[in-house]
């Protein structure tokens, strides 16, 4: 009986599975490379003016608020295998944003290598005022960003680190540690 109910659950999930696989084909078509079994739930916004490389088994949830991936003319976004990105998050690269494999990104996160992401367009970044200096962002393998985390330009998050909800990450977070707060500091050793 348990066997039957498990198969029934799988059967019920089939339309979502098919739709997410097909959705990835459609919505991620402007990415330069997309791995196998990458899935999108609802429609993300992808603006690829530079380079975007997505690994396999990436899942992007755009329910409630879309996920936004933006790369500028010189920008490179690298997303590893098995990454999960939750809704309302923005990943923006004018230089380089690297997200390692099996990273989880919570809802409404900001991962950007410039201070004021999301207002560039075909016209480029805003002119006037001090020049925009992007600083590369790196998130190590297996890191976990909780909801509403802001990753500032130049931040480096070590492999397996956990960042608590609402934190602002500046500078370096060592691998495997739990960090949180504004600015994020190590709270405990994993």
């Amino acid at each position: 009986m348990e066997e039957v109910s498990r198969w029934w659950e799988r059967l019920k999930a089939a339309p979502v599975w098919i739709r997410s696989r097909l959705g990835a084909r459609i919505w991620l078509r402007t990415c330069d490379e997309v791995g196998t079994n990458t899935r999108t739930f609802w429609r993300p916004n992808i603006e690829n003016r530079g380079r975007m490389v997505l690994g396999s088994r990436v899942r992007i949830n755009s329910n409630w608020a879309p996920v936004e991936l933006v790369s500028g003319p010189q920008g490179v976004i690298e997303i590893g295998d098995g990454v999960f990105i939750n809704y309302g998050s923005m990943i923006s690269a004018q230089l380089h944003v690297r997200i390692g494999s099996n990273v989880m990104v919570g809802n409404y996160c900001i991962v950007a290598d410039t201070e004021f992401p999301g207002i560039g367009g075909p016209q480029g970044e805003p002119q006037g005022g001090p020049p925009i200096e992007p600083r590369a962002v790196e998130i190590g393998d297996g890191a976990w960003l909780a909801a509403r985390v802001t990753v500032l330009p130049g931040a480096r998050i070590g492999a397996g680190a956990m960042i608590a909800a609402g934190s602002v990450v500046a500078g370096e977070i060592p691998a495997g540690k739990v960090a949180g707060g504004i600015p994020a500091r190590v709270l405990r050793a994993g």
Binding site: M90, I119, P126, A170
Partner: protein, 266 residues
């Protein structure tokens, strides 16, 4: 005039149609909510507003003025509301998820009217305001000031400084390498509050440290906390000569700089 710029201009005109005046070349990413309830929205030239992935909204209440200068850019998810007067100066850049309002929308108790205790907000020219900053009613931010990401500003910020924190305090000069969230100065106001027993985090400016808190035991306490939290040791003899909060910040920055020099040196 390309097809795309014509299209962008038409879109901007449509979504900014509630504004009393809009300058040249506005550029919108996504669809914001811009509403005027018998108020005035005045927007300068080359205005940029992000609304993706989360929509921004600009609202002016009855008789209110929401003034946005030239070359202003505001990130996505922003909430800007004027019930009386909100002024954003020329060339100011504002990050995503910022809240700028000149009212609390209701009193702390009883009085539920929106007009309750409005105080105008003024943000100067050439300011840089980071992601997820909240600016409370009645706040004045001076020209060229910088507010770091995640801060809550509830008191006036003078021109040209960098302020940060849950109760935003001055931590240095704007645009300085030490005025970042990963600098030692950003942690100092909270450390000073805790170890000197102050009521609120102090501004790191030229004001003298009150004599009654700057005692021998508290000073040694402070030095040990700085050593634990920031990993730098301050000279006890030099610490005795310190008179202002700015001098504490300078001493810490000097020590951090020396440590970096050692780490990077041969």
């Amino acid at each position: 005039m390309t097809l795309r710029s014509t299209w962008n201009a038409a879109r901007a005109r449509r979504w900014l149609r509630a504004c009393a005046s809009v300058g040249a070349e506005p550029y919108l990413v996504g669809k914001p909510t811009v509403d005027s309830y018998r108020g005035q929205l005045r927007i300068g030239d080359r205005f940029r507003l992000g609304s993706r992935p989360v929509a921004s909204h600009l609202v002016a209440g009855p008789g209110a003025i929401l003034h946005i200068g030239n070359d202003v850019s505001i990130g996505y998810g922003a909430a800007v509301a004027a019930i009386q007067h909100v002024h954003i100066g020329d060339g100011t850049r504002i990050g995503p998820f910022v809240i700028i309002m000149d009212t609390n929308f209701h009193g702390a108790s009883g009085d539920q009217s929106i007009q309750h205790d409005c105080r105008p907000v003024r943000i100067g020219d050439g300011c840089r305001i980071g992601s997820r900053v909240t600016i409370a009613r009645g706040v004045t931010i001076g020209d060229g000031a910088e507010i770091l990401a995640g801060s809550v500003v509830s008191s006036a910020i003078p021109p040209g400084v960098c302020a940060a924190g849950g109760r935003a305090r001055i931590i240095g000069r704007a645009g300085d390498l030490n005025s970042r969230w990963d600098s030692a100065a950003a942690a100092l106001p909270d450390i000073l509050m805790a170890s000197l027993g102050l009521a609120s985090p102090p501004d790191l400016d030229g004001r003298p440290i009150p004599g009654h808190v700057w005692t021998e035991t508290r000073m040694q306490d402070l030095l040990s906390v700085i050593e634990n939290r920031l990993g730098v040791t301050l000279d006890i003899v030099a610490a005795h000569k310190i008179q202002t909060f700015a001098e504490v910040a300078a001493a810490v920055q000097h020590a951090v700089g020396e440590r970096r020099g050692q780490a990077g040196g041969p």
